[in-house]
């Protein structure tokens, strides 16, 4: 198997987890209710742990150690989708992003737990159980708030319309897509997207929200190839601020 293809896959998995982990952590102390403050903080900790598991696999393939990889790259070296780096906005946008992202992530992990590349399969088997909690959390709130007050429905619908083009960008195929599929490493983005649509539709149907017609939407691509919005670099600068004061410090 082409090692570059495996690394490309690992980087996109790890970078999504790290960047969303950081965004989630920005809710610490600011959640609309205490339980949500704790939920987003817990998911932040989970996701950063997940990114560490994937960066560790990358290190085993000869990449730099996880802290260096996480804290010293610039925005154009990150492979996360643009959806992940967008600012938290208000709670409704964070919740919609969390719903759209985690429903895709759990499918990736379920599929990767069957991967022919054993190190990824082992990590994915472990992580899919943890992400289940994130999906339950997102789906519960979307169902509750998506059929509650007029304001809640309008806010969520507006955020959903705004996030959908970016969400479709999560499924931007890698240049190694065919190779990974043929080797049984990964079922590929098209397969993930098809299953994702089914699952998010099943939740949205139970609410007063409407999924926009996806055929009329231009996906926001580029994230997997290092093209990002203006929001990623400031996030990275903040995330690495303490690390960069003394990169050799022992923590």
């Amino acid at each position: 198997m082409n090692e570059l293809a495996i690394k490309d896959l690992l980087y996109k998995l790890a970078d999504d987890q790290l960047i969303l982990g950081h965004r989630n952590s920005e809710w610490t102390g600011f959640g609309p209710i205490l339980e949500e403050d704790i939920a987003f903080s817990s998911m932040a900790q989970d996701k950063i742990g997940h990114s560490l598991a994937f960066y560790t696999l990358l290190q085993e393939l000869g990449e730099a150690e996880p802290d260096t990889v996480a804290f010293t790259r610039n925005a154009n070296q990150f492979h996360n989708s643009q959806l992940i780096e967008l600012p938290n906005g208000e709670y409704d946008f964070s919740l919609i992003r969390h719903f759209l992202y985690d429903n895709a992530e759990i499918i990736r992990f379920e599929m990767l737990s069957q991967s022919s590349y054993e190190p990824i399969a082992k990590v994915a088997t472990k992580l899919k159980g943890e992400v289940k909690y994130h999906v339950l959390h997102a789906n519960t709130w979307i169902k509750n708030l998506g059929s509650s007050t007029e304001e809640a429905i309008l806010r969520l619908q507006t955020s959903l319309n705004e996030a959908i083009p970016y969400a479709l960008g999560m499924f931007e195929p890698s240049k190694y897509e065919q190779e990974l599929i043929e080797a049984g490493v990964y079922a590929g983005e098209e397969a993930v997207k098809a299953e994702w649509l089914k699952r998010i539709q099943a939740v949205i149907e139970k609410t007063d929200l409407k999924l926009p017609d996806l055929n009329t939407i231009e996906p926001k691509l580029g994230g997997r190839y290092g093209e990002h919005t203006e929001h990623l670099q400031p996030l990275l600068d903040e995330m690495a601020e303490v690390f960069k004061i003394d990169p050799t410090a022992e923590w």
Binding site: A39, Q45, G49, T125, K126, G129, Y133, L136, H137
Partner: protein
């Protein structure tokens, strides 16, 4: 002391989860294997409960310290996902200790997590099942928060995973 798997596991009973000091790592189910080579080298395999658990590194060092303390300096402790942890791996003794500590033990389940398993957890204080889940996230990654409608207390559960 003779170097056997059983003896090593007995020593490791001493190592507790730093956030749940009544629970040993053996009862928690994170010690996944002990091997002793012909030359007497001891290898302890461990696996994290949650991948992001900040206590895992501490637990690994604690295992190393304990082996050193008992005169077993020739050791390697490996943390891996080879045998992934799930909450069914907590021993009966561990479950009892959790309950006494005031943490509801996770139910044994078929490893397919759904909301039904998380609702109506048995209260560790009064054993009532008339309880509600308040949030699946708690003060640490491995705990959820619940409310008992009978004894009217908040309590935490060690989450099923």
């Amino acid at each position: 002391m003779e170097l056997t798997k059983e003896n090593i596991l007995t020593l490791l009973e001493e190592v507790k989860d730093p956030e749940i000091p009544v629970l040993s790592l053996v009862d928690l189910g994170v010690i996944t294997g002990v091997e002793i080579s012909d030359e007497g080298h001891v290898t302890v395999n461990m696996t994290p409960t949650f991948a992001g658990c900040p206590a895992m590194d501490y637990m690994k060092k604690d295992v190393e310290r304990t082996l050193d303390k008992y005169g077993i300096p020739d050791h390697t402790v490996i943390m891996s996902f080879d045998k992934p942890w799930d909450s069914n791996k907590i021993s009966e003794k561990g479950r009892q200790h959790l309950k006494e500590f005031g943490l509801a033990p996770p139910p044994k389940y078929n490893l397919i997590l759904d909301l039904d398993i998380l609702e109506h957890v048995k209260c560790p204080y009064c054993d009532s099942e008339n309880t509600d889940m308040r949030t699946p996230f708690g003060p640490t990654l491995c705990r959820s928060m619940h409310y008992c409608n009978d004894c009217r207390q908040m309590f935490e559960q060690f989450k099923p995973l």
